[in-house]
């Protein structure tokens, strides 16, 4: 049913429809409304779950790890410093191949302290071994949240659903909420193949000596590779049920014949779509690539998506100081094997909540037309604010 809902409330309702057995989370801006709304659903009797109010994100992650290890469907949510405080446990959840779902309301990581949106938090745990799915709208965030449980349970990998803090979490917009019957049909009860059972005791998380560690890592990497197909299939199945796909691994829109492409993750994609529609005729058109799956990284799909482009601009909503962009570096790496790879320009944008205006679209197209454009830049930084040596 179509409703005008704040993103966070819609996510709480989507999580409730997945009927989690355990929810544990610690509030942090801009994720707080998700947890508050879940807590309210529990208090009002609309969600029957073990809601564990913990004293930190470390505990939140630990609780859902333990819960899911017993075969419970478990959910948590966090952002920014909360992701960092969880980080040790996040590696454990993934390394133990524990399926659960976490929403990250993407926010910058301090210092300098910022409560506002970028994607530094998810990038900081890029190598923890989680599936990362980025959402461009609240509709995608709702649908991806429901899909995430099925992906996690099918792959025995944890899934991080990334949605831009404030830009999505605090935005009210029209969202078509799935019905409970639809979600029930889509999401069978969780039956964990390795659930802890006191009648059949076994150990989890034991010391792995050098004779096995490499094989465990290889196995985890291989599972990520298989997850590519699962993510696509689950999205296709969801589309069959609801008529809405959430973008599989990636989606290509815009002008298929354009020589310039722009690749981005998250809510900035919508602004780029608006920019193309409003400025495309005047500034030049572009092929838009919305990357939904950051982990596993869809190398083959990316190479197909960029075929025929002269220039690909990759937007990063985070920075790796001393290197540059993160998504941009990874995209460049996987395009190396192409016979005619496009030139890659990698621009960080909207760091720490810097508003991204629609005029970014013609500015990016202009950069693509410039043969001397820098390969990496913090695109919207006002260098005049800085000391000369930092410009």
């Amino acid at each position: 049913m179509r409703e005008a809902l704040e993103g966070s409330l819609a996510i709480a309702r989507a999580v409730a429809m997945a009927k989690p057995d355990v929810v544990a989370a610690y509030p942090i801006t801009p994720q707080t409304h998700i947890v508050e709304n879940l807590s309210k659903l529990v208090a009002e009797g609309d969600l029957h779950t073990e809601f564990v109010s913990v004293e930190s994100e470390f505990s939140a992650a630990s609780v859902v790890l333990g819960a899911a290890a017993t075969g419970a469907r478990a959910y948590t949510a966090t952002a920014s410093q909360g992701v960092l405080l969880m980080s040790e446990v996040l590696f454990n959840i993934a390394g133990l191949r524990i399926p659960l779902v976490m929403t990250v309301a993407n926010r910058a990581v301090g210092a300098p302290l910022s409560i506002w949106n970028d994607q530094s938090d998810a990038m900081a745990v890029r190598d923890a071994g989680w599936i990362h799915l980025h959402c461009a709208s609240n509709q995608e965030a709702v649908d991806t949240t429901i899909q995430a449980f099925r992906i996690a349970e099918a792959t025995e990998l944890p899934v991080m659903v990334c949605m831009d803090g404030f830009v999505l979490t605090h935005t009210m917009e029209v969202i078509d909420m799935p019905g409970q019957a639809q979600v029930d049909a889509f999401l069978p009860p969780f039956a964990f193949s390795r659930a802890l059972d006191s009648a059949d005791p076994r150990t989890v998380g034991t010391l792995v000596d050098p004779g096995w560690f490499a094989e465990m890592r290889h196995s985890h990497h291989a599972a990520m590779g298989r997850a590519l197909g699962v993510i696509e299939k689950v999205d296709a199945d969801f589309a069959k049920l609801t008529g809405r796909a959430s973008g599989g691994l990636l989606t290509v829109t815009g002008d298929p014949d354009a020589r310039v492409g722009i690749l981005a993750m998250g809510s900035v994609v919508g602004t780029l779509e608006a920019g193309l529609a409003d400025f495309g005729t005047e500034a030049g058109t572009a092929r838009l690539i919305k990357l939904r799956a950051f982990r596993p990284f869809p190398a083959r799909a990316l190479r197909e998506a960029v075929a025929g482009l002269d220039t690909l601009i990759v937007i990063d909503r985070a920075i790796s100081p001393g290197l540059g962009g993160i998504v941009g570096s990874e995209v460049s790496a996987v395009l190396q094997s192409m016979t005619a790879a496009p030139r890659v320009l990698n621009y960080a944008l909207g760091l720490g909540g810097r508003d991204i205006p629609e005029s970014v679209y013609p500015a990016l197209i202009a950069a693509a037309a410039n043969p001397l454009a820098p390969r990496f830049a913090v695109f919207d930084a006002d260098l005049d604010k800085l000391m000369p040596e930092d410009r």
Partner: protein, 189 residues
């Protein structure tokens, strides 16, 4: 697309006003988008919120830089030189103030209407929260959405006595301004 920017201070319900306006647009069959630009999250701090209304899906997620209308919930914010930044030619500004419209309008080169929304709210709901009265006045002036749509949005958010008092308040506030004074010509709607 119609774009609105709401300026207020923490505690005046600027974000709630944005959500209510978007909710009213949805009730009237439009697509909508509403979101805040939080600064310091504390009472009294300036807060800005944005609303977009359209008859097609809204993909743009930038802050509203060129609003059709401004709603100012606190007249001390009129001193901010950036307040009217980007206001579209032919735009208009609704101000919550006890001062007469002419006195405020003299300082701006745009259309201005002042409404004593805090006082109206104090009288009708017993709280100095001007947001619902301002929205009713805004919709009356612009004719963008019917008052019933705002009432429907209120009904999805408030209940019982609070709802009843707010419904009384919006009817009074709507009647306090010249209906359709800011209505756009059909050609540029």
């Amino acid at each position: 697309m119609i774009e609105y920017r709401i300026h207020g201070r923490g505690g005046q319900g600027s974000v709630a006003a944005a959500y209510l306006l978007a909710g009213a647009a949805f009730e009237a069959g439009f697509t909508c988008q509403a979101f805040p630009a939080f600064g310091a999250e504390r009472r009294g701090a300036p807060v800005t919120a944005f609303v977009r209304i359209d008859d097609r899906p809204i993909t743009l997620r930038s802050q509203v830089r060129a609003p059709d209308y401004l709603v100012v919930q606190d007249d001390t914010l009129l001193l901010d030189p950036a307040l009217t930044s980007g206001l579209k030619p032919g735009g208009a500004m609704l101000v919550n103030s006890r001062k007469p419209t002419d006195e405020i309008a003299a300082n701006f080169d745009t259309r201005v209407v002042a409404v004593p929304a805090t006082e109206m709210a104090q009288e009708a709901i017993g709280k100095p929260i001007p947001n619902t009265a301002l929205l009713a006045a805004l919709l009356a002036l612009t004719g963008d959405l019917p008052q019933e749509a705002l009432a429907a949005a209120l009904k999805s958010r408030f209940h019982g006595d609070t709802l009843a008092r707010n419904l009384t308040l919006i009817a009074r506030a709507a009647a306090s301004v010249e209906a359709g004074a800011w209505q756009k010509e059909a050609s540029d709607a």
